[in-house]
Symmetry: C2
């Protein structure tokens, strides 16, 4: 559903253009669609007709995708492969990849602002939250701190601050935006904020653990790269055992917060399990 | 006024951060503030209290500034100097410059969405127009076409298509958004759209002419670079005389459209003269 909708949104751009091809390439190169799935799961815990949340879900995936395209650039993480496929700037070129990222970011806000199913107020709230989560108070700040932390010893607190900004805020947006569009009560929004805070950290710990214990074929990328790059990770700070223990503690806290909402028996519950145990 | 307001908006970000410093640097490195001035001038043709248009005016300058930071990158135009000052990636580094651009773009929408003086409907209309003008149907598409046109012979029509996307759309946004916030009648908005279409082209022709006839000290950058880079320009396609003639034709059309609006005697009229005759 999400892939079809992304294709639909992208086809409203000039199809012959190199820019559109480059934007579309990074969607076709795979991805778990985790953020839109979380958004739709959160929405479905409160409302049936998922159509109302579809545009925001795809807009969110556009922002995530732009961030990957820019993160992979030679000046940033300098990655040639992503999900087992050549990265955007390897297939096109650096200039095109920079512009494709810029375009996806801008188009994301354009799509939300033009969504015919949302009220002006709903659109503005979503844009307020999404811009904050992804901009200089959120994801971009996290990426900056992450680059500055490279090859440096960081504390657990510093590591978590980076993750909360870099990945946590968009995950939180997904879950809160979905529930908001589903007319969840304020009390549920508060608990879902707490739930998604821990879910973001669980996601990151599992990422770090998989870089040590994961299967390269399943992951679509080489493991052990964190150690090679001297990256600060949960296992590096806490040891593998400690990281697993920390993850379990967060899983407990996440489930506890979720259990206080109407979403307690929803697909979000199963997704929490999946994210905790995932092998890629 | 605009500089003060930009400073104010930037100070709401983490001041100690490298990201904020990099974002702020490119504002301090000068600039004509043409787009916010056009927006405020257009607003003031209809309303007195300019406060209502200030946040949108600064948000627009943020988008313009992000586009310059990204355009200057080594993978794009590879410029070491802008307005006589080292470019962002020369002072910081490429990764920081990419992120500062991403952050300014995102923050621009955040600032509009949080403006307490605008209604939900006004904010959404502005975000619809601004995202369209600056995204894959506007400025970013223009920059992509501009890069593709490098060292290629283009027709006048192709050249103007690039300019309309790359610079024209944001200039049009400035003028239409200002008048819209000033509650201009629909008839005026239509004529102002036409006016700003020609104003954008005038601005570009003058840019091309100055690259041949301009004074390097006044410009803060070397002249003759278009010819060195084999860039397609109005003088290159039409000759210097032909370019001047084309400019005068557009000035006539712009003034004619402006004269049909309540803004005919406004500061926009003087700005048209200024942009036509400017020497830097």
């Amino acid at each position: 559903m999400i892939n079809k909708r992304i294709e639909h949104q992208m086809n409203q751009l000039n199809k012959a253009s190199r820019l559109q091809k480059s934007m579309l390439y990074s969607f076709h190169a795979g991805g778990k669609r985790l953020r839109p799935i979380l958004l739709l799961a959160s929405y479905e815990a409160y409302q049936d007709n998922v159509e109302k949340a579809m545009v925001v879900a795809t807009a969110l995936e556009m922002i995530h995708t732009y961030s990957l395209i820019h993160d992979d650039l030679p000046a940033m993480d300098d990655d040639d492969l992503r999900r087992g496929q050549p990265t955007n700037h390897k297939v096109f070129d650096e200039a095109t990849a920079i512009l494709a990222g810029d375009a996806l970011l801008t188009y994301s806000f354009e799509c939300i602002s033009n969504d015919p199913l949302l009220s002006y107020e709903e659109k503005i709230k979503l844009i307020q939250w999404l811009s904050k989560a992804s901009g200089p108070k959120g994801m971009v700040a996290g990426q900056m701190l992450d680059l500055q932390a490279e090859k440096k010893v960081v504390t657990l607190k510093e590591l978590e601050d980076i993750h909360i900004l870099k990945t946590g805020q968009l995950i939180q947006f997904a879950i809160v935006a979905g529930a908001f569009l589903g007319d969840a009560p304020d009390k549920d929004l508060t608990y879902l904020k707490e739930y998604s805070y821990y879910l973001g950290l669980i996601f990151q710990i599992q990422d770090d653990i998989l870089d040590i214990t994961g299967d390269e074929d399943k992951m679509g990328k080489p493991t052990g790269s964190d150690e090679d790059n001297k990256k600060s990770t949960y296992p590096q700070i806490l040891g593998l055992e400690g990281a697993l223990k920390q993850k379990n503690e967060y899983v407990h806290k996440a489930k506890s917060a979720l259990s206080k909402t109407k979403a307690s028996e929803s697909y979000l519950h199963a997704l929490t399990e999946y994210l905790t145990e995932r092998d890629h």
